[in-house]
């Protein structure tokens, strides 16, 4: 007998301990259960809906604390509020959407999936990203995409200081101003295939009112990470 339900499983964190919620969500990797979850009264608790590995949708009705939806696989996690440090850290696949703003290190070390921030993200957004796609409707803070290896970061607003410092092969698109570029990060030509790429990412993120041709592209000058003896003094 299938236990799959069409209803919404509501978990009240004012009543249910966080570990009990996360355990139930983890169990979905091994056994069938509700496919649509609503978490109410999150009150900024840390580590909500971490480590999911199932095709489910989790809606968080309020503000989430640190490391929300960390290590996410397959699941869609939507936060109807703001998120703290380390949102969707090391995400593998699936989708994480925050309707408010995200604190530092959003999407850090992410390997896949899509992270959408409808407000602003702050410092170190996409730090060490390894394949994740990140779309930010607002702006990102300093040291975003630091040591970014692969994946795409789309910023509809502005970027802070030292964008893409020590970047590898991630592609960065910023529509507004960039306060400063980090070491070995340069502006590159926005060609047709890049406009198509940005348009596709904006579409996936559900952002319709932004012109994909209005972005600038940034990436690696490839002078730092491929070791050259002339750069020895830079280390």
């Amino acid at each position: 007998m299938s236990t799959v339900t069409t209803g919404v499983e509501v978990v009240d964190l004012a009543v249910t301990p966080l570990r009990a919620l996360n355990q139930r969500l983890h169990d979905l990797a091994r056994e069938e259960g509700p496919t649509h979850w609503r978490v109410v009264n999150p009150n900024g608790a840390h580590a909500i809906a971490c480590g999911l590995d199932a095709d489910v949708e989790v809606e968080i009705e309020g503000h989430a604390g640190y490391y929300c939806a960390g290590m996410n696989k397959r699941a869609t996690v939507r936060i109807h509020g703001n998120a703290g440090t380390g949102l969707a850290e090391n995400m593998m696949s699936g989708q994480v959407v925050v309707e408010g703003s995200a604190s530092q290190s959003a999407g850090a070390t992410g390997r896949g999936g899509l992270l959408v921030v409808h407000g602003d993200a702050s410092a170190r957004c996409g730090i060490s990203m390894k394949g994740i796609d990140i779309v930010v409707k607002g702006s990102v803070g300093h040291l975003s995409a630091f040591m970014a290896q692969t994946g795409r970061l789309v910023v509809c607003g502005d970027a802070g200081d030292a964008l893409g410092d020590s970047i590898y092969e991630a592609r960065l698109y910023v529509r507004g101003t960039v306060k400063g570029l980090g070491a070995d990060c340069i502006e590159k030509e926005l060609r047709d295939e890049h406009v198509v790429e940005v348009a596709e990412l904006l579409k996936q993120a559900g952002i319709a009112d932004v012109d994909p041709a209005s972005f600038k592209r940034y990436g690696s000058a490839r002078q730092l990470y491929s070791f050259k003896i002339d750069n020895a003094g830079a280390y």
Partner: protein, 307 residues
Amino acid sequence: MCGIVGLFAKSTEIEERLGAHLGAMLVQMSDRGPDSAGVAVYRDPAPTGWCKLALYSRDPREDWATVAADLRSVFGGCEEPDVRASHAVVVVEAAADDAARWVHDERPDLRTMSAGRSIEIYKEVGLPTDFAVEFRLHDLYGSHGLGHTRMATESKVTTEGSHPFSTGLDLCVVHNGSLSNHNRLRASLRREGIEFRTENDTEVAAGYLAWRLREGATLQEALEGCLSDLDGFYTFLCGTQEGFAVLRDPIACKPAVLAETDDWVAMASEWRAIAVLPGASEARMWEPEPGVVYVWERETDRAAVAA
């Protein structure tokens, strides 16, 4: 880890309930600092020629009426003490330094937690929820206030080692982070005549700011000096009689969120502490940039002094 909160009132509604709001913010930061909690509230400036001291006693049955009577006999005037748990606020007809020195010399069993005209510091070991009830934060109105929940790293869990720290008149600091050059800096500040009473790193930051302000720096300049003279990581929230200021170290590894509405300016380590304020969902919110000083000050006091 530690949690910081700050609230600057821009409306009388917020002023009247400042302590209640500050307490609610502090409770949200319990997970960040369960060791001790404290607040500094700025309110009811003492009249010209008078000062305000916040005193602490280890003795739960401290006879505060006698302390006030002694102060009255020495200085001529002392209002009835306002007692909150282990603390009492006394308003004395004296310069703040003179009154604090009398307490230091004649009542070494007491500690002066704050001195000035408006500042009142209350701090104690234990959970923020207990602290808020024991110190009746709900009836503390005021123009602005700071709070801290502590997870101890650099020194012991004691009332004296709790934040906020004050080493200057009407000046206080709460801190999230830790400083690594505090021993050497403490030694050099002692040579400048700044007094320290604990081994705590944050007290050194408070002492550094007191020294720079004494030497004529503005709050902005004093905080900018931290960027070159303090080694370590920090988010500071610094309170003065006029307002408060926020500074994060140049790397900004310790969290900070700022938010502003027509009624208030708030600062906290995490958004959840601001979310409890009225109108928070409509507030303009951002995270302060590294190495940038943010200051909110009330113009009225300065204007009054200038006039």
